[in-house]
Symmetry: C2
């Protein structure tokens, strides 16, 4: 019936033209909005006010949600869109630079400041008006000169050379803060405290390669010596949008062994297993629901990254092996229940763990579901 | 300096008023857009055209991306926003119902049609103009009546009673299609083929509880008997937006053992391990970067779900135990490299797996990174 098709095509085209027109208006409004938020950023930066303002964000989202009914749009859609718009708006505010919290600081040195993580610190310090220098491998013959008069030295080198680098820092001024950003804390902290007699603080920014700034990122802070003298640095991190959590180096490393090391190692083992099984990756993807696709992506992504970094993290702590052995034992114990067809034992264990997770299980379900919904967009 | 603060507050308020005004305009445009896309849906439904139109989606995103430069907005922002808007627009198109692909079908019966997955099928069939009945546990004394004259019977009961339910279906009309939607395929397919002499097809919709429709969801199709007679059903699934992948029952089950069963089981073991280690969940969350938080959520979410379902999947296939034992062996082999401080061996294994993943590793990294960026919005 070509006649029906003609009408259909014409009708669809007319509606699509309307959609295109609406989309242009949306683009131009979004551009206008970004210009305004960037002015907000400039004002905040002048006044030294933190860019991330959770209260304003909450209020804005709540007020939009209220209006959804009268506009006949889905509240879920509006929440998702405006969260994304606000993420963009933070980065627009960020462009204008940040307040310098401590006017007395004359010099910051980042050792390894050209590295992935180090360069983020160099960038943020310089956009906050600090004089900041990088000290790289080839600069050690000029180190005394570079480090002289520094008020803050941050060690941002790969984990396997951290201790060696720290051992060279015995000539810093007494008032200088010595900090590191290694992903393990006990050994670098001990080393820093023995080498330097002034203020010492251990930092672990909990974010990986893809991140470009500090907004909404968690930074673990481990007190070394004279945390009071480090106060301005903590404030500076917060001005950049970081959320600080204070833990001891031991607490930090114990938790990392349980989460980071364990997850890296079992993920690597799983990739190794898939290879040994001769898995067909395309078939695995074909048969993947969003959650398996995501889990597979979480495995595969690791193998696109720096193997030395993962090896260093896994080999960094003798205690890691013991924790992972206990995991393997538990895996095999539970597997023997499956082998013996003891479903009752399996279900009973499941219930125990479920009770142990408590309310977290439900909130994890909701959180991950929201995220999984988005996987269908790409 | 209260004067500076007064100016600051007034300036910020003025800018925020502008933002609020822009946001209202955005809301009203989005509402207008939804009205237009819902008309597109009505037209498509009348004409029997699939709602999901990848080519139009690609073209629209590409044309928007081109315009970003002249509007001075971020292309990443626009891509993310419009993908989300299009997801909403599909659901608006969906509201108007779907085309009935096969006008000759008089009766569809979904056994377990009140269940989570079954009810999605009941809903979609009825919104496509089919007469559709549910047959529940309490209806078996009336089963002959309910099943009489059915052109399609779909078994959508829990995995542990699937075979038992199929065994009761020996009285179906010869021309009736018998289908199931169980997450394992070999045993239910064998059972269906032995009980029923007409067309048989195995389906596995690859989506979990949170999903409400079929748009962009993968459905695995396993041929049983007379796939030609099932053709209209495949078309109907596609009209609903499903993407079909054809595999044999054996290929399906092998892949599931490698992905689904393995991931469920190791996730349950990891939850069990965290409990036995006496982990402090709040501390784990405090020290989680977005990726660890997501991984932790992927573990915890499982324990908010139906334990019987997981047990049934894990216990469903004797072959599962063998696969998981091989995984545990590989885990321990790799762990012994860590224990012996043999970093070279570890790195070598990593490289092998990395090579095996090939280009997938990089694309998984990009895909998961896009998703991880979104976790910072909530």
């Amino acid at each position: 019936m070509p006649k029906v098709n003609d009408t259909f095509d014409a009708d669809i085209s007319a509606l699509r033209a309307q959609i295109d027109d609406i989309d242009h208006q949306l683009l131009s409004l979004l551009a206008k909005r970004r210009k305004v938020t960037s002015q907000v950023g400039a004002l905040k930066s002048e006044a030294g006010v933190a860019i991330f303002d959770p209260a304003r964000e909450q209020a804005l989202l709540a007020s939009l949600k209220e209006k959804c009914h009268s506009y006949e749009v889905s509240p879920e859609l509006i929440q998702d869109l405006f969260k994304r718009i606000m993420r963009d708006s933070y980065s627009s505010q960020d462009e204008k630079g940040y307040q310098k919290v401590n006017a007395k600081i004359e010099k910051v040195v980042v050792i390894g400041g050209n590295g992935q993580l180090g360069s983020i610190f160099v960038d943020l310090f310089s956009r906050s008006g600090y004089q900041v220098l990088s000290l790289e491998e080839q600069d050690w013959n000029n180190a005394d000169n570079l480090l002289s008069g520094a008020n803050l030295v941050i060690v941002a080198v790969p984990i396997n050379v951290t201790e060696q680098v720290i051992s060279k820092l015995n000539g810093l001024d007494k008032q200088c803060i010595l900090a590191d950003i290694t992903s393990i804390k006990s050994t670098p902290m001990e080393k820093m405290l023995s080498v330097h007699k002034g203020p010492v603080v251990g930092l672990h920014p909990m974010f990986g390669p893809g991140v470009t700034g500090m907004i909404k990122q968690t930074v673990i802070v481990c007190e070394g010596r004279d945390l009071f003298a480090c106060e301005w640095l903590m404030q500076q991190l917060q001005v950049w949008g970081a959320e600080l959590k204070y833990y001891s180096a031991a607490e930090h490393d114990e938790t990392m062994a349980m989460v980071q090391v364990m997850r890296h190692f079992s993920t690597i083992s799983y990739g190794y297993h898939l290879m040994q099984e001769g898995a067909d990756l395309q078939r695995l993807l074909d048969m993947s629901s969003p959650i398996y696709r995501l889990e597979l992506a979480m495995v595969g992504r690791l193998f696109a990254q720096d193997k030395q970094l993962y090896a260093d993290i896994i080999f960094s702590n003798g205690n890691n092996v013991a924790v992972m052995k206990r995991y393997a034992e538990r895996f095999l114990t539970l597997l023997s229940a499956v082998e013996c067809q003891d479903k009752a034992l399996f279900l009973d264990t499941f219930t125990q763990v479920s009770d142990w997770f408590g309310d977290y299980a439900q909130s994890f379900l909701i959180e991950s579901q929201q995220l999984l919904n988005k996987t269908k967009e790409s």
